[in-house]
Symmetry: C2
């Protein structure tokens, strides 16, 4: 069994030493102060809940899964008890406005806690994940009445929520959406349609579920410009907050999936269900993207969070499993050396470690930007944070999920045949992980967003790179040269290749699509290099200040590993980014097989 222990030392390193969250929090108005020891205490308490309550029900969640009977979904054994305990602990309310029953802490802090949930029990964590996007969306678009009706019940976790977006014929392409909303004449609407792949669409954890549903009003414009967003509660809610009738929305079935078996993935049927417009008519997609962008960061977190669990499992196994003599014998008194003494096992462990801790740095950096976009009153700071977040969201989501899949697969690999067996726990992490590159927009969608929209149309690469250049300038100690030189070279190359692609795209309509995947991966490797260089700088500083904490040695060596053994992957991506799209399109659609 692979047992997760919350990596508090690395989390605190990233928050406090690398990203300076404490002074950052002090600069945010309307956010409660978070003294350093309070921060640590919150994280420690969350770690305890995760290790003691969520880890033990992770495997049974996979084995038993959710059950569907007569339109009702039952979650796996122990899921409900853990949920109630989490709710009672006030964990969902951490970042919410005190006015709505929240604790007014910074948003980033909730998400750091979320990382631990996802590491411990990915399926369970999905019943929590939806809250964040829902609350942010309601805060931004709901009327005061809607806010006071729904937000407190969500914040207290008495109710749960979903986003209903996908339909059988429409996933990435929301313009094809068919669900209809017709005015009832009393300000409410009647929704008709079928939604699929609805995470937490039905379950037994809460008394009510608030669905956010994309649908078309009568005579709405075609395509994405004619979509509106609606609030559709499972149980109607009277204006005094009491329950009205059961709404005409029901779960028609749940999906049998590769992983996250404990998370209910529902087909939801809306048969004249009563809904309430959220935000403006036909502006549903904008509201939905508030939710979606938050969800993409949540997914970025899940991806390295599962990498963390897989890494921890592989590390213990590698330390204990005796097999073959290593090139340098480390345990001559034993029949064989532990496999951690073998170079190739170390290659895999260090890859997992570098991607996990790198994913954490990148994701927390994004969370810091989110804090600013949500709470800052400085327009310039806000604008810059919005730009950073817009640029790095597809990188964090797309890259973390792709390398997260590699990482959890390596966790299986290090166990040899044992990794393929359910008992090891490793194959579950790998199956659970696979979804991260699929939901909230597949990798190609992230690549198109990054290259076509964020880099080429909006020019956000140019606004991000000066930050890296400034960092390099400020780190002129000799020991940083091994990081600064390749980083400097990479950002020049990045700028150049982006311009090249932009140029070629003028005459080749397929160029952006052909480059989307490799550009995303290229961007990910270079961005992580920036964060690993920062980690190296902090560690070097500590060591030169006389620290004898081995943590900094290990961090520094992991940064070196990243630069020497992972960053070179850009070489292949850059060479593909120089290719025209021609070769991809040269075979007729019906001439692939004969």
């Amino acid at each position: 069994m692979s047992d997760y222990k919350a990596p508090l030392r690395d989390i605190e390193f990233t928050i406090k030493e690398l990203l300076d969250f404490i002074p950052h929090y002090q600069q945010l108005p309307s956010v409660e102060e978070v003294p350093e020891d309070t921060l640590s205490a919150i994280l420690k308490e969350a770690a305890k809940f995760c290790e003691n309550r969520l880890v033990p029900i992770n495997r049974i969640g996979d084995e038993v899964g959710c059950q569907w009977r007569d339109g009702e979904v039952t979650t796996p054994p122990g899921f409900k008890e853990a949920f109630k305990e989490f709710a009672a602990g006030g964990w969902v309310s951490l970042a919410e406005d005190p006015e709505h029953g929240g604790q007014g802490l910074p948003f980033s802090l909730v998400m750091v806690v979320f990382e631990m949930l996802a590491s411990s029990n990915m399926a369970w964590s999905l019943y929590i994940a939806n809250y964040y996007g829902t609350l942010i969306t309601l805060e931004k678009y709901a009327t005061e009445e809607q806010k006071s009706l729904y937000i407190p019940k969500l914040v207290s976790a008495e109710w749960n929520s979903t986003m209903c977006l996908t339909e059988p014929h429409c996933g990435s392409d929301l313009g094809l959406l068919r669900t209809k909303a017709e005015p009832n004449g009393d300000g409410s609407y009647a929704l008709n349609g079928t939604k699929i792949f609805i995470t937490s669409g039905d379950h037994d954890l809460t008394d009510n579920i608030i669905h956010l549903v994309l649908a078309r009003l009568p005579n709405a414009p075609e395509g994405t410009r004619g979509i509106s967003l609606f609030i559709v509660p499972k149980f109607n809610v009277n204006s005094d907050g009491s329950f009205g009738e059961r709404n005409s929305v029901s779960c028609g079935s749940i999906e049998e999936k590769m992983g996250i078996h404990g998370s209910s993935t529902c087909t939801m049927n809306f048969e004249g269900a009563t809904g309430y417009l959220l935000g403006s008519e036909h502006k549903g997609l904008t509201a939905m993207f508030t939710y979606m962008n938050e969800s993409r960061i949540t997914t970025a977190i899940q991806a390295y969070a599962l990498g963390e669990t897989s890494f921890q499992g592989a590390l213990s196994y590698a330390q204990e499993r005796l097999q073959m003599r290593a090139p340098e014998r480390t345990h001559p008194d034993q029949q064989a050396d532990p496999i951690i003494s073998h170079p190739d096992v170390r290659r895999m462990l260090l890859t997992q470690k570098a991607f996990t801790e790198g994913g954490r740095m990148l994701s927390y950096y994004c969370l810091k930007q989110m804090d600013i976009t949500l709470k800052s009153d400085d327009p310039a700071a806000k604008q810059q944070a919005e730009q950073r977040l817009a640029f790095l969201t597809p990188v964090a989501k797309g890259f973390n999920s792709e390398v997260g899949i590699e990482s959890t697969s390596m966790g299986v690999q290090m166990f040899g045949g044992h990794g393929y067996i359910a008992e090891s726990g490793m194959e579950q992490h790998s199956r659970d992980q696979r979804i991260t590159a699929l939901y909230e927009g597949v990798t190609a969608i992230q690549g198109l967003d990054l290259l076509g929209r964020k880099a080429l149309s909006m020019g956000l690469l140019e606004s991000f790179l000066p930050e890296i250049e400034l960092f390099i300038e400020q780190q002129q100690v000799e020991e940083m040269a091994e990081f600064n030189l390749p980083l400097q070279a990479a950002i020049s190359e990045w700028l150049q290749i982006t311009a090249d692609i932009g140029q070629r795209a003028k005459t080749d309509v397929n160029q952006v699509g052909a480059c989307a995947y490799d550009y995303l991966m290229y961007a990910g490797y270079v961005t992580l290099a920036y964060f690993w260089a920062q980690a190296a700088a902090v560690s070097l500083q500590q060591l030169s200040d006389g620290s004898d904490d081995k943590f900094y040695n290990t961090k520094l060596e992991t940064a070196r590993f990243y630069f020497r053994r992972l960053l070179p992957r850009t070489q292949t991506h850059i060479s593909l980014l120089r290719e025209s799209s021609e070769n991809l399109l040269s075979i007729g659609s019906d001439e692939f097989t004969f």
Copy 2:
């Protein structure tokens, strides 16, 4: 659902046009003649069996899996009926000596049929896979009496067989093996020990199961030099072929696995089980490697065979699924274009296609060498074939499985969220595939064998490269330059980096282990380039001879795709192969986490 149709056109292209199996068969003595139309008829008949009998029971095999009760294993619904039909069709006997009830056809032909079994139903195919290694091992090491007792019953598929190798504490490291064999005084031995991960260890498909078991004789030397191989039948067999008592070997449990649920993976308990020495005392590993080397080729075949099924599923979906407008609209009359019109989907489809057809070329080439090693009476030809096979076996097994995992994962990716759902069939291929990089020696073991043993110690790279150079020399038409130039550059680089690593390994004991994985992948990409260049040459010749068969255009464009978009992956591998091992070993075994 993803429905497999046997790719007979590509199989025949590879056999007949690329690798000249017909004249190759004519040169093999003691092998039945195989006229071209007979060959095609056999393949067509096998395809029919696979498509009609195996594909329909693939998903139920995954859903129901094997069941264990009171020491007996039941296979999933339909498995037994399909097995009986396959047995009755004489398919297991194809390549066996007519003396033992076989049909005397070439071995490679059986394995081409095996590809179709694995594509159709990987789990089911594993009940067949063991026959090949067992029969080859018995032919080589069994006494005449043993041969006549066991071979005919295996050839008729009345009985089945296993290889019992792994123990709980010993997988890759067979030196640690503990199972004991003590002489009974009557020429037989009593075996005691526990074996795990035994494929087909127990099941309900045949009346008897013949286990080949590695064990130690009393006073055997320690380590790998003290291991012997034994025949242990499930039911003892009297010298007249009739059944004696049930032997003291039993299945203690079966494993719950990530995939291949329809294949029984058994813990086998030997409690004084009667066994018979196969081959010489203490020479069990040599005999086992006869089996293992064959199994590695079988695994290489499974890996691209599952890639083929996943490719076919993804291709149909990509042709049908309408989503988003492609950069160049292909279906203006529809609401959206099929996703095959999107460049990134094509990138994935072509990657799957290039790896699948490339894996097929490489594997069939290995099979051709096996035919020669098994049947040729020309010592020089035999020696060369043995060298090629020794060098390319780890490449085929290690590389095909690694890129096979990527390929089936891409199959999931192209389906978007639907790929994560069991109903699509795509995630099953991905789970079934994952085992190929684990069993019969994990990838690192293949890399160590290739680099340390085959390339550096035995110098087999130098004996292989002249074949590629000769090919390049013979292809001096201008159209081949786009393939020949990068291929020539790659083989020079390959030779150079091998010498470099050998040099560094003299002073760095960890160098070979540190390079094992990247060297294997590097070798795989260059070797596949050689085969894709051959495919291009054959296609160019056909086109210049006036053929208007689109098959050749597609083949040529796929070769171009391979050279321009997959071969560049060597750039990253080569840059890692130039690294010292230092960075991998610089962190203490207990200093990875804090």
